[in-house]
Amino acid sequence: MKITVAGETKEFNEGLTIAELIRQENIENPDYITVSVNDEFADNENFPSIELHDGDAVEFLYFMGGGSYVIL
């Protein structure tokens, strides 16, 4: 099946989950990422159980945050 990952269309085996895609794509710091599938954000806890389908478009977004409340 074909899945578009970060704008690039690639071939994957059927039954691919988000968790497996993260492994196959060698995503660094996976604890920091949010994943969208066809513009819908997936719950991180469900990455191992969410199966992807032919034609899906997946984006990996790194959480970006911080703050000024502890300046030494």
């Binding site: 704008g7 660094e28 710091n29 920091y32 949010t34 969208s36 513009d39 954000f41 984006e59 977004l61 790194y62 959480f63 970006m64 945050g65 911080g66 703050g67 000024s68 409340y69 502890v70 300046i71 030494l72």
Partner: protein, 140 residues
């Protein structure tokens, strides 16, 4: 070195001032020439924490920005955020949440609202290194 146009610097400063008392945040994108990063577009995003001491980018807006960068052929260079009442340097929280040691983390201090101070940093764990930042008069 990282280079930003005066217009883009002003855009960030104006937005950050308009978001007071909360922190403001966004993304930067552009091109890399040798060792220099040239910012060609700044993205003004929503701080979903709506806090004066913390920020998180809105993921939906972040996704839209990433797609815009892709469409324009720009590279993601890092992010920026404001410190409404503290200096332009990374906090412990900034360090804790900085996962990408190659990214530029721009911090705008609004301690003096008439003279916002912008600095850029590389953050690698607890280590921070100031990156030379140049504000250029003309559009890059």
């Amino acid at each position: 070195m990282i280079i930003i146009s005066k217009d883009d610097f002003q855009k960030i400063a104006d937005y950050a001032l308009s978001e007071l008392p909360n922190e403001a945040c966004g993304l930067i994108a552009g091109r890399i020439e040798g060792n220099d990063k040239i910012i060609e577009k700044v993205y003004l995003l929503s701080n979903i924490d709506k806090s004066n001491e913390h920020f998180s980018l809105d993921p939906k807006e972040q996704l839209a920005a990433v797609r815009d960068m892709r469409k324009l052929g720009l590279l993601p260079l890092g992010n920026w955020h404001s410190h409404p009442s503290s200096p332009s340097r990374p906090s412990e929280e900034d360090k804790r949440l900085a996962y990408d040691k190659t990214a530029s983390y721009l911090i705008l201090s609004l301690m003096d609202k008439d003279k916002p101070v912008l600095n850029s940093f590389h953050i690698d764990g607890a280590e921070t290194q100031r990156e030379e930042l140049v504000i250029k008069e003309n559009k890059l």
